[in-house]
Symmetry: D2
Subunit: 308 residues, 4 copies
């Protein structure tokens, strides 16, 4: 084979995990936003790969600097707005045809301290990290088209009853007994695609985030579940029913198995009271719930993994 | 050297990370406790090591089974009470002279769902994991004496102002500029030693836990800090002032550095608004705050590492 | 919106991280293979999601059992062959239209012990884990077409010289100085796509694996690098030049920055001798190197993330 | 309680995880050493805690700078020698009465490339990270006395036969069947204490490291094991028999359980051929093997955790 038979295929490069903390100190009540930003650029970078010619390669260090400078110049209102600022900036460069930008956003709550009358009040500049879940945002720009995703990772939930699993096919390798009552537990990771025509400036991404999280928690709690898949679908359907701006919502949900411990060797019954929480293996569900008339937009998703 | 010149020194063995989830289903409002329990035994196990004679070795699998059986037989009221049950059980065996038992306890909150009148209410059997911190308990029994520790790990806090650092000695290798205003951030890990005479049955370990956590958060928020050490001491002093049953409280606190980004190359000022959150290296503080008249009880602490 | 406007989009489900260790004991010289296998099925599972009807849902527990049973019945010759066995088995079911199967394979080496004449020899049944990298395999079956990938993750390499970076564009946010001599370090993750017509039974996947690893290491060492991209491309080109059966090879390579420490405040020069190894941020490169005439097979890649 | 009843107990502070990479470029064959260094100081720091007076507090940033400056000024011959340099430097300060210094050392191997005659040769400046284990060193200085430990973490080994476990006591909670043939697997973490009179300058710490690692691997392979404890002791005894400079060696060894999968539901036998590698729980052994006449030196160990 001659080397002329080999070509550069799809490629992107950038700076990953730029940790930027932005404090708004305009009033004594400080605001805090805490992001982990990655910026990946696409374009005609062929010569960098084949001959080491970096003429078109915006240094990844420059991408990092831009994140910090923009945090000062423009502030950070929401992760989604900040990624749009970055993506639109970089795609103005002649070298850049598109890219992918992501952010993790770490939620912080104000520490509660005693107020004048002894009641608790939120402190002005002291915070405790929530960690319940990590908020995410992701932006693809390709051929001048923007695809914007909101989301969150690893919201861990468990219900001690109200979950069944039965009716599945039995083959030579099936040993699982059917159950009408089990623990169901998962770490909910989800991303939602904003409809193509969404006006970002007019969109309250924080409010949508809070709304989606609450809907997903409610559905998990309230649906009597015949399978984790059914719960997933109910959550997606409820989100689409409530939030006009979302056209497709996808989930990655492990089934965090809790095994009923056999206590009969010790002369004890165990009516779903004592469980062993397993690590591996675990069930795993990936699915999209979408509007029937939503356009196909695979570019929004395919580079993320796990959501296809 | 002949092998008779070699002896077995200190030793212990057991089962680590037994994941036990206990559901109380006595009423439709289920209770959930979620622990990671380890059990390590000490005793005269010399022959196991030197000749492979296991006559005295309570199998680690038996220790695991005991955890699950006790969860059913006795329930789990608090991590501290459960460790006392285990420790007292195992030290009844002739083979066992003492041991160390630990638990991590993962906090879960009830999911909020709409109530009859539209207001939110706590769901009966659906939970979301808090993750703000991990609660810990540790018990040493040696020579018939019990040493019981409560605690928590990795409560992450940050204040955007109200922290200084100056006045330190300058030597050839000092370059750090003094500062009157910086971000202070840490992951608080702490363990507290219950006084020797504590009556475990009469002690509300859950209430003490909640109280210590709130005091530590408040002190972090309210103390104008001249160093992370000063904040640590203030937290310890406040805990000892409020909780009679604690005689020694120790902290492991990293200083999670947040660096002010130099934006001057871009013609921008940065008056403590944009920070880079660093990973490594980080400052690290370990210290004990104790009652002046507390007895010396090194056995409670020395096997845990980081707290000496 | 009525719920009839909502549909189930792409979906898959299965069992993740089935840890299977297979020992071949046919002779006193035991063979060991250590895999982490995941199995994800696709098909018409709509009713499971929308109504909780599990009639077509092959339980994930059954998938797990199949992994273990097949390990006994068929043995595990290579990760690639084992995934083909699993994928072809599951896609025989009427319910299943396709799926994705992955394996991590952990390399073990025989422990060296003294032989009869004092020289070291490989022990028959005692092993030490290599950990230098993790071998991977991935199989997509969709519409009756198989896409098979070999690969490895996190082969960490570093060169102390022979790496430059200069000639990149300078904009308002550029501060990086050009360099003719730097440390270059990365964790090489790569996957390679076997050509569509590959006869799996006739292919020595272990030999190809060893060959690709050696080529990639050599190119990293021998290429005087003007950018990490150039090194990546050289490695891909060399692999395609040497291994006929591969038609597309993709890389994910972070640029693990090593910063020259400024020792001038201490009156010391630092001619690239003392470095701080950074954690975050890091550069990141994703790229494909492929044969010019290779068919487009996005299904092989898009669900993996990071490789598009 | 008045605050005068509260005192500062044991305490230390410093800089953790200083990542220093040192390249020796004196010849074209570069040498590479890659450390993660922590420095913790003890002394009379009472006023820093109680009043925020930092007059005696050597800034943790200064400690970090010292690590980098010393790497240039003195080079890094071995982790042990480097810690001695640091510890002796800091304890010269009037403020400092002692401290603890630790290092992780990451092994790198030279990449093998084709030589002139086609045979493989070691490259001059290109390396691949070994990862088989992490080398460690730890130094305590207290009251003018030095305690120096060598060691390594997480050397993962497995034997497919030659391991039994039986003869243990049976109580109400015992269900484990006895076995004459099982997989034994562990991650060996060990630290060894150099005898008090050891002349560090005359000691070849690298040679001792290589020797201990080889002995431990050999004993694991060659001892027919009646328990993991027996294997541990045999390894310790062999090390003490071979290395005069070591007076006490301690191990932390999990028992990484491999469960024989029950294939009988599928009509298959499983004579120790197919195993499920478990995650949690796991057995855990900690023990010291020491010379009978070794002096008691608890200060060397107690702050490390897990080794007491």
């Amino acid at each position: 084979m001659s080397s002329s038979d080999v070509i550069l295929g799809q490629n992107q490069y950038g700076k990953a995990e730029v940790r930027v903390v932005r404090v708004n100190r305009e009033t004594p009540v400080h605001e805090l936003i805490d992001l982990n930003v990655s910026s990946m650029l696409r374009g005609d970078f062929n010569e960098c790969y084949t001959s080491g010619d970096n003429t078109k390669v915006i240094a990844t260090d420059t991408q990092k600097n831009t994140v910090y400078a923009f945090a000062k110049e423009h502030g950070i209102s929401t992760p989604e707005h900040f990624l749009l600022l970055l993506g639109r900036h970089f795609t103005q460069s002649a070298e850049v045809s598109g890219g992918r930008w992501t952010a993790e956003s770490y939620p912080w709550e104000r520490i509660q301290v005693p107020g004048a009358a002894g009641e608790l009040r939120a402190h002005e500049h002291s915070f405790v990290k929530s960690k319940q879940e990590i908020r995410t945002a992701a932006l693809t720009i390709e051929d001048g088209v923007e695809h914007l995703l909101g989301g969150f990772s690893d919201l861990t939930v468990l219900k001690t009853t109200g979950s069944e699993f039965s009716g599945y096919p039995k083959d030579r390798y099936t040993t699982l007994p059917e159950t009408q009552d089990r623990i169901m537990a998962t770490d909910i990771t989800t991303r939602w695609l904003f409809a193509a025509g969404t006006d970002a400036q007019a969109t309250d991404f924080d409010a949508i985030y809070a709304q989606v999280k609450q809907i997903v928690l409610e559905q998990f709690a309230l649906v009597h579940s015949l399978s984790l898949q059914q719960t997933l679908y109910a959550a997606g359907e409820a989100v689409l029913g409530a939030v006009e701006a979302i056209e497709d919502i996808r989930f990655v949900m492990p089934n965090n198995h809790h095994y009923v411990v056999d206590l009969s060797p010790f002369g004890l019954e165990n009516p779903n009271e004592v469980f062993m929480a397993g690590d591996r293996p675990y069930g795993l569900m990936n699915a999209s719930v979408m509007r029937k008339d939503a356009p196909s937009r695979p570019k929004a998703w395919e580079w993320l993994g796990g959501f296809c």
